[in-house]
């Protein structure tokens, strides 16, 4: 299974050309503002703005759908829960806010090279050096986090195929245990590769 979820897509739009720091700062502001979105209308407005930003970045409906698809079940469960517990308006607000924030976060990674994001995080984390935090390592964490999404999705696909080939049906245990083992094994090999490339030096 191969995914391009949230991975940089080259382009020349205004959003592509904006500095990574500005985009990350805007994302943080959007997160704070989202706390004050309390009505379906305000959430609808935020969603329209988000969709307009995707259009401005030259990212089509297919790219947008790929960002939403992995969240679908979570959103459905959350919507059902809030419909039962606190009514349709609350359900729309909660699901809508999550959707907007995930789409905005994906928009940042879709329009920004990971290296630029890493550079910003390293710069921001520099004052933490005084308390023993290595800024380069914090930046590396971000880079590895983004890189790990397709790796883990790929491993999950392999495990699912092996599970089907061995007739193990849809057993969650037969899926989770080998996925965890493979992910840890990958992390181990990645650690070796990072050490070989002198990251720890």
């Amino acid at each position: 299974m191969r995914t391009t979820l949230g991975l940089y897509r080259p382009g020349t739009s205004v959003l592509h050309r904006l500095p990574a720091g500005a985009k990350l700062a805007t994302l943080v502001v959007a997160g704070v503002v989202s706390i004050f979105l309390r009505t379906p209308w305000s959430v609808g407005g935020a969603l329209v703005v988000t969709l307009a930003l995707y259009a401005a970045a030259g990212l089509g409906p297919l790219v947008l759908w790929r960002q939403v698809r992995p969240l679908l079940w979570l959103l459905v469960v959350l919507a059902a829960f809030h419909l039962l517990v606190s009514g349709w308006q609350r359900a729309v607000v909660v699901v809508g806010v999550i959707l907007v924030l995930v789409l905005l976060a994906a928009l940042v990674t879709l329009t920004t090279r990971t290296t630029e994001l890493v550079d910003v995080v390293v710069r921001v984390a520099r004052p933490l050096r005084r308390i023993g935090v290595d800024p380069e390592r914090v930046g590396l964490l971000l880079g590895l986090g983004i890189r790990s999404v397709p790796v883990v999705v790929g491993l999950a696909g392999e495990v699912r195929e092996a599970q089907l080939a061995r007739g193990l049906g849809s057993s969650p245990r037969a899926f989770a245990v080998p996925l965890l083992v493979r992910t840890l094994r990958h992390a181990d090999r990645l650690g070796d590769a990072l050490a070989a490339r002198g990251v720890d030096d």
Binding site: R2, T4, L7, Y8, P10, R113, T114, T115, E136, L140, G143, L144, I146, R147, P150, V151, G154, H186, R189, L190, D192, A193, L194, A195, A196, R197, G198, V199, D201
Partner: protein
């Protein structure tokens, strides 16, 4: 060429001894290492850049000790693994190449220049912004090799770099390796790759049981395997 010296080197994982009193001095341009699975050949390779430390004995790479001078040794020795997926650290091709240069503190222009150079080497210039995980197996291994070479090591250690590749891709990787000016230590199961090498070590059950020119070493290895 740099001198690699192993003097009475042993290594054990828990209580399992995988290398036993190995002593060799390597000065040739192209050195091959063959052996059965679990013979200790990968451990031998990993000793050369400090990924593994000897339980006893000593390793010297161009006079440096990988245990106490790991940083200097890793600048000298590039290491290429079997599985390129585990070596690719950044999401896109060009970014992964540039990643290796972060600790070299080069200017933006110099980094870009070197990335261009090695994109060309790997034949990936048209894929610079592509997600690295969407490349073919052969392209990924060439990217992994280029990511090692971009830091300009003097020695390149490769642990079965063609094992997961089809014949065409294995040939592509072998061609690139053949053209390298660096000293190369290649651990492999693909015996035909070793024909142009200067020297081949056969490792078996933790010992170097043959150390000769490729034809002779490969013949010894074949006889060893046929007897099992």
């Amino acid at each position: 060429m740099p001198t690699i010296e192993l003097d009475g080197v042993s290594h054990a994982y828990d209580n399992r001894r995988v290398l036993d009193d190995v002593s060799v001095t390597l000065t040739e341009h192209r050195i091959g290492v063959v052996g059965a699975n679990g013979s200790g050949k990968s451990t031998l390779a990993r000793l050369l850049n400090g990924l593994v430390h000897p339980s006893s004995g000593s390793v010297r790479v161009d006079g440096l000790d990988p245990v106490t001078q790991g940083r200097e040794v890793r600048r000298l020795v590039g290491f290429c693994f079997t599985d390129p997926d585990a070596q690719i650290v950044m999401p896109t091709v060009a970014e992964d190449l540039a990643f290796g240069l972060r600790r070299h503190r080069l200017s933006r222009e110099e980094t870009a220049e070197r990335v261009e150079e090695w994109l060309g080497f790997a034949g990936l210039a048209a894929h610079r912004d592509h997600p690295a995980h969407l490349l073919s197996g052969g392209q990924k291994q060439l990217l992994a090799l280029a990511a090692v070479l971009i830091t300009r090591p003097e020695i390149v250690v490769m642990d079965e770099p063609t094992t997961l590749l089809d014949l065409a891709n294995a040939r592509r990787v072998a061609e690139r390796v053949a053209g390298l000016p660096q000293q190369v230590v290649l651990v492999t199961h693909q015996l035909d790759l070793l024909a142009p090498f200067d020297r081949v070590l056969v490792v078996d059950r933790g010992h170097v049981v043959a150390d000769a020119a490729p034809a002779e070493a490969v013949s010894t290895y074949r006889q060893l395997m046929e007897g099992r």
